[in-house]
Amino acid sequence: MRNESRVYLGIGSFFIVTLLVYFFTSHESTGSVLLLASAGLGLLPGLYLGWWSRRMQQRPEDTGEGEPRDITGVIGQFPENTIFPFTLGIGVWFVGLAFVFGLWFAIIGMAFVFGAAIGATGESKRASFSERENVG
């Protein structure tokens, strides 16, 4: 995890340096704000991952000697076929079109959005059949 943390911290530090050079030479505010925000984008995850990497054991993909058998087991759970991203996509689209064609579009769109949210949550519950305590 250390290398991942370093990638983010590298980004953050780069932006801090650029920001300092840019702000003190140009005093221009828009660019400076954007550079500052970008520094945050790197430093926040970088510091978090860096902190975690000290506390966790090396994962099989962090050591050079990992074997495929090291990662057997459940690594994720999701339904193989689900209509709800599509439903959510329609909902978001209609809400977007409401900005052009009128508020009534947003009402239809939000109906799809809520439907997708409810459906996807229910689906997640249904999907984990490997762990009996999660069923039902």
Binding site: G31, G66, F78, P79, I83, G89, G96, L97
Partner: protein, 555 residues
């Protein structure tokens, strides 16, 4: 269903047909959806380009009206950049290839992946709705400078449809960026450390970072523009105390990283196939990683080189960084050449396109260095010189390198080959047409022809060069048609490809073509950046630590 490395269970009857396609969360299905959709958008935008070039064939042309022309170049540019190049790279190629290259069964967030595709499709289609409104589609250029894009100067829903469209496609991109980064950080196969990842995957990681830096800024700018247009805000109007130039700052803070978001994946594609077709490893793996990072970093600090002529930006800062960006890009070009050097180069269609890309990109990059110098930019800004420059770099990367990738990975995606002979015709017609289209445009720009003009006068002296350019554009159109033909023939008369037709090095070639659901039945041991090469050529294997210092050969 439960995803396990190796075991698959079904609780209910698997859906079929259209429903299965719509609801699939398999990154391979979604990746192919993106590719088909993006290529369709490319052909539509290409048709618009041909209309534009037809209009410019004659001085005072009247193929289309002034207003339609302005809509055409706006939507052509917007479609190519937002709806073709980006989604094709990170939604199409990356989606399909990255999980395979790192030995993962799927992306980290498969449902988010599916959603990203719908946002892209619906958002893309929304942009085209503008043509069906009474006042037409957006007509202010793909950069939508304020105050031209504000309500007094661009009334009508076309502009708002454009805003909504790009906001949706922007979110699609952001979600894909998140998905890619998480997948690359968390789902690598055992033994695949960061410095053993394929360079295409590295490119996609860096692209993902750039997406997260750039796209939210665009979304914010679009929200501000919409607020100015409809909520009575005054972000960009002088009368209300706003600053029009702020739009340019915001837009280009997104816009410049955007072009590297478009370029880096295609650099990555070429970095994959040049070593394979030269039968050598990439020359200087770590150098390429650092070049990627340097390009990404520098690209965020050069945005105002698009604003040199405003007179309100710090010229030396942006000029210096823009000139510097030539260095890591040059490192990549020299690396590709050094990789080919001493190799055994096979010139199939894929490699032809890759070499063609290098020629086009080097020249486009050199004119970019010229544009990085403010005095030269004062002369050439907003002229056809710039049009020629960016088309060279963009077509070089998205079309030539993109097609190199298509011809390389098509066997893996579909299990069949594209026809080599037709592919070579595809390449040469497109490549020659490309030079005929854009070289005259450099001269046109230097002789005073501005961008985004629907007509010019017969006494301007622009006619001959414009005509040459139009002929070249039609050639490129024919070249693209040849690709379509090749694609259709590969379906009608399939020639099966095996698991690893090119003797490739990376994990995607370690499974069947096309791969099964969840990608791998078994993984080879990963002890270097070329796991499959090590497996297939144990006498020339890389399984030594990847450290550069002096000249290493594995012998």
């Amino acid at each position: 269903m439960v995803q396990t490395a190796g075991v698959v269970e079904h609780e209910r009857k698997a859906p079929g047909g259209f429903y299965k396609w719509v609801t699939s969360v398999d990154h391979k299905v979604i990746g192919k959806n993106y590719m088909y959709t993006a290529l369709t958008f490319m052909f539509i935008a290409g048709a618009m380009a041909l209309l534009i070039r037809t209009q410019l064939f004659n001085p005072n042309g009247h193929v289309v009206s002034l207003q339609t022309y302005n809509e055409l170049f706006t939507i052509h540019g917007s479609m190519m950049l937002y709806l073709f190049a980006g989604p094709f790279a990170f939604g199409g190629f990356a989606n399909f290839i990255v999980p395979l290259q790192i030995g993962a069964p799927d992306m980290a967030f498969p449902r988010l992946n599916n959603l990203s595709y719908w946002l892209f499709l619906f958002g893309g289609v929304t942009m085209l709705f503008g043509f069906f409104t009474a006042s037409g589609a957006a007509a202010f250029g793909w950069v939508a400078y304020a105050p031209l894009s504000t309500a007094p100067f661009s009334p009508g829903p076309g502009a708002d449809l454009w805003i909504v469209s790009i906001a949706m496609v922007g979110f699609s991109g952001i979600f894909t960026g998140v998905n890619l980064m998480t997948t690359i950080f968390y789902l690598r196969a055992p033994g695949m450390t960061m410095f053993r990842m394929p360079l295409f995957t590295w490119s996609m990681l860096v692209t993902g970072i750039l997406i997260l830096i750039a796209f939210p800024v665009l979304t914010a700018a679009l929200v501000m523009l919409y607020a100015d247009r409809h909520f009575g805000a005054h972000f960009f109007s002088v009368a209300g105390g706003g600053v029009p130039v702020m739009w340019q700052n915001l837009f280009w803070f997104f816009g410049h990283p955007e072009v590297y978001i478009l370029a880096l994946p295609f650099f990555g594609i070429v970095t994959e196939l040049i070593p394979v077709f030269s039968k050598k490893p990439i020359f200087g793996y770590r150098g390429m990683v650092f070049a990627n990072l340097a390009i990404a970093g520098l690209s965020t600090g050069v945005w105002a080189h698009h604003m040199f002529t405003t007179g309100v930006v710090l010229l030396p800062f942006f000029s210096a960084l823009s000139l510097l960006i030539a260095v890591p890009t040059g490192v990549k070009v020299f690396t590709w050449i050094a990789t080919m050097w001493g190799g055994q180069i096979k010139f199939n269609t894929s490699m032809l396109f890759a070499v063609g890309f290098i020629f086009a990109f080097v020249m486009g990059g050199i004119t970019g260095v010229m544009l990085a110098s403010p005095p030269i930019d004062f002369y050439t800004h907003d002229t056809y010189f710039v049009v020629a420059h960016f088309h060279q770099v963009l077509i070089g990367t998205t079309v030539f390198a993109g097609f190199a990738g298509i011809y390389y990975w098509y066997p893996k995606l579909t299990g069949r080959f594209l026809h080599e002979g037709l592919g070579k015709w595809n390449f040469w017609v497109t490549f020659i047409g490309f030079w005929i289209t854009f070289m005259p445009q450099y001269l046109l720009g230097l002789r005073g022809m501005p961008r985004r003009i629907p007509i010019y006068s017969p006494t301007d002296g622009f006619t001959f060069l414009n005509r040459m350019s139009t002929v070249g554009a039609y050639m490129m159109g024919i070249g693209m048609f040849l690709f379509l033909l090749n694609f259709i023939i590969s379906w009608r008369r399939p020639r099966p490809a095996g698991d690893n037709p090119w003797d490739g090095y990376t994990l995607e070639w370690a499974t069947s073509s096309p791969p099964p659901p969840h990608n791998f039945h078994s993984l080879p041991p990963i002890r270097s950046a070329r796991p499959l090469w090590d497996l297939n050529h144990p006498d020339h294997a890389d399984s030594v630590p990847m450290v550069t210092g002096g000249d290493e050969s594995a012998e």
